[in-house]
Amino acid sequence: MRHAEQVRRSLELNTSAGAVVIGNYDLLQSFLAYGSIGIGSATSAWARHLDEVAQTLEEIEQVHQRLRSGDLSRENFIRQRQTLFSRLELQLQGAARFGTGLRGNESLRKVLGISTRSYLHKGEIAGYAKRIREIAQMSKWLGKGTYIGLALDVGVTGLEVREACVTGREAQCRRAKYVETGRFVGGVMGSVFGGHVGAKLSRSVCHMVLGISMKGQGALACAVIGGAAGGYEAGSVLGDESAFLGGKILELNGDLIFEPEGA
């Protein structure tokens, strides 16, 4: 209630923002419903990227541990650590640092706070384990994007039915249940279908038309963008289609039937 009160007050203070939200309510709602699965796909891809960063960080720590226990000579240690740093540099180029908490233009050793002498003395890299835990945690949450999207879909459907039941008559409320349930089922099915086909089409376009290399991670970016766009469009259209079908269902004496011709 306190939050609702705060929202109401801020809307009163800033009426233009409220008008924008109300004016774009349908757009906002459709984006929440059909865009969410695409967002889930993108966040999952980023989660895997963060997993890779966390794995490289763990490998760097293991190399230090092996040096400390005497399993690794100093020359081999330097060589292996250099290889891992090069891999990490590649993984953290440009915007790829987002979500890792590793910022700045300084060398990775400085950013990570790695000092061989300090490690050999203390047996741990200051704050290193915490950083790996944070990245893994971020990845775990991002990986849940699809489920959050689905929960939003269910929420939007529930809100639509509730709205019809509060403002309309009993018949409108009953009809809204079929229409909105149909929209939800069709929307989710369409989003997944559109996501699959959209990702495939955009990868082909990226390779054949835009000439994006097959060797890098360009195809992944294409798949995520194409999948999100395909999921949004197909989810929106198939949601309408299923809602139309849901609107044709009538309940007569407890039986579900299709609306008779001309009714």
Binding site: H196, H207, F244
Partner: protein
Amino acid sequence: MSFFLALIIVHLAGIFVLLSLMLFAEYAKLDELESYFDNNEKVRRHKRFWKKNSRIDRFHRMGLMIDILSMPKRFLKAGLVTEEELASVPPVLKRWALWPYRVSYIWIIATGAWYAWFKWWPEGT
């Protein structure tokens, strides 16, 4: 039942079947498909990146398989696969990977046509 309503039912049923086939291929055929590319660096790296067994991981791993099988000449030219690897994949498996997508293109066009009909000639529905 009107033609428009019948079209919707066929269209939605088709999408359900195609999506089921895609998901079935992702869950039941992917491992076998990947086994023919066990020594391939591109496939191994992709598998390492999408190492979890969740739906999204299998979707992206299947995506690479579909790309390799649908654009074999480009992958050969880029030096990412060998002719032996491509030849080792049985035609039945290739069909499982490729045909649901090929038929889907027809369904995507049908979706566009339905949308145009629904939006611009609503009185006909």
